[in-house]
Amino acid sequence: MARILILGGGSGGLVVANKLARGLRGTDHEILLIDRSPYHYFMPSFPWVALGFKEPEQVRRPLKNLERKGVRVIQGEVQEIRIPEKRVRVNGEDLSYDLMVVSLGAEVKPDLMPGFEMAYHPWTIDGALRMREAIQRFQGGRIVIGVSGPYYRCPPAPYEIAGQLDFALRARRLREKSEIVLAHPHPQPLSAMGPAISGVISEILANKGVRFEGNFNAKAIDPQRRVLMGTDGREIPFDLLIMVPPHRPSSAGMCPGLLTPAGFPLVDPKTFRCMADPEVFAIGDMVNPAINLPAAGVVAHFQAEFVANQILAELKGAYIGESFTPVAMCIMDFGDDAVLPMCDFTRILDLAGPPSCGVLGRSKAIRLVKMMFESMWFATYLS
């Protein structure tokens, strides 16, 4: 009998738990999932919560629902991962494991940016609710959407927020009294995804009158003067600041010495097995930027399927599950317009060329696909 620990109940952890529960049905292997929250949140909907389109209860489900499938769920804080001893400290107690999947995601660290208390953001559910209140109070002026650094969850989100704000302000007849500025480290909107996607997003922002301030690396926020300051000396005054908070990988003190200088666990980019121990897998936002994949739930999802396949093959002796598909898709909802971009990261994973990206569709009807996907996600993995 093997004990498999899954650290994190986000996209990656949830998919691994489901795949293993199905694949190991009827066996005596033990599957444990640990998360600090009692809920799994569908994070792509957080901007909808901030813009009043969804309520928090609609974008979350209890992780305890996994217990019906045979997964034990422990609510607790992962304090330490001791790979050489095959132990994890949770809520002050040690848990042993035979195989482990670490999918702890990225943590938001607002304190790392001076003056961040002036800013709002939808990168957490509480943050989304505070941002909603700030938008409700807003009566016109300049809204600045800033980005604290290149590493953050869901790279297209700031663009979506800009588009959704334009739509919301038009509905409240405040758009003519307002200006929306998007300040980003990239030279062009989503330029890392190539000209096909960048061109469409630039066109949408231009149509919506959103000013794009490129190559802007934010350094700090001056609360007294209400300005966002860039490393190159540029300053952007604001009346309302929405800011992607600084993110850091949630490595939970994992295996000192086997992290990159930026704190990402070192993994084999072909198998996602840790360099420290091949019986430990690390997936999702806590590793992906270090292997040139984006910090996005969809990538964690496909990694999770592949990792579950490897675990099932190991435990059952033979198993043909999913291979890893290095693609990402994201439904970008701009309120009255929506885009479905996709990128194939096969070449960049091998460092052989840029990602191959295109647009699968552009229509406001695509918002419906996002809503249906959210519903399917909960029904499939947490019903």
Binding site: G257, E305, P354
Partner: protein
């Protein structure tokens, strides 16, 4: 919404129909098939996310977008006149004896105002084609240069990480 009880005749009728349907589905095996499909549902997404299929989808979507950019009035008027003219010119009689054009008749045809207009359109199209290809090749060369720089930096970072991992494993 009004409260519904099992004693309600409407509820009984609906339930009876649903039960009959379920029995029929069970007898025909449809219910078993649906059970299997629900097992497949969580896997379907990853099979559909084949990069080849996605690229075909993205290219088709772009071609459809080009069609979307065309103005229906313009296209309808232009295409209908083109079809009319083709129908007038390409008659069965004409097809039996297709005109043969040599250097002399080509020069003669150049005097025809319709041929002159057609040539003008072709030349205009050639000019647009040349200009567009020139711009796109410049843009692509710039992108390739930028990509090479980025990849070189990423290769350097990965080599550094691998070196670090090896030294930790050795110790």
């Amino acid at each position: 919404m009004e409260e519904i009880t099992l004693q309600d005749p409407k509820a009984q009728e609906a339930l009876e129909r649903a039960l009959r349907l379920l029995i029929r589905m069970n007898e025909t095996g449809t219910l078993t098939f649906l059970e299997d499909v629900t097992e497949l549902l969580p896997d379907s997404l990853s099979y559909l996310m084949d990069p080849r299929l996605l690229k075909i989808g993205a290219n088709l979507a772009y071609l459809l977008h080009v069609v979307e950019l065309l103005e229906p009035t313009l296209i309808t008027v232009m295409m209908s006149r083109l079809v009319e003219e083709l129908n007038q010119e390409l008659t069965p009689e004409r097809m039996k004896e297709l005109p043969r054009v040599g250097p002399v008749s080509l020069l003669k045809a150049m005097g025809d105002p319709d041929v002159q207009r057609g040539l003008g359109i072709l030349l205009l199209f050639l000019r647009v084609l040349g200009r567009a290809f020139d711009r796109s090749s410049q843009e692509l060369l710039g992108l390739m240069e930028q990509t090479e720089k980025t990849l070189a930096e990423l290769r350097r970072q990965r080599a550094e990480m691998e070196r670090q991992a090896l030294s930790v494993q050795a110790s």
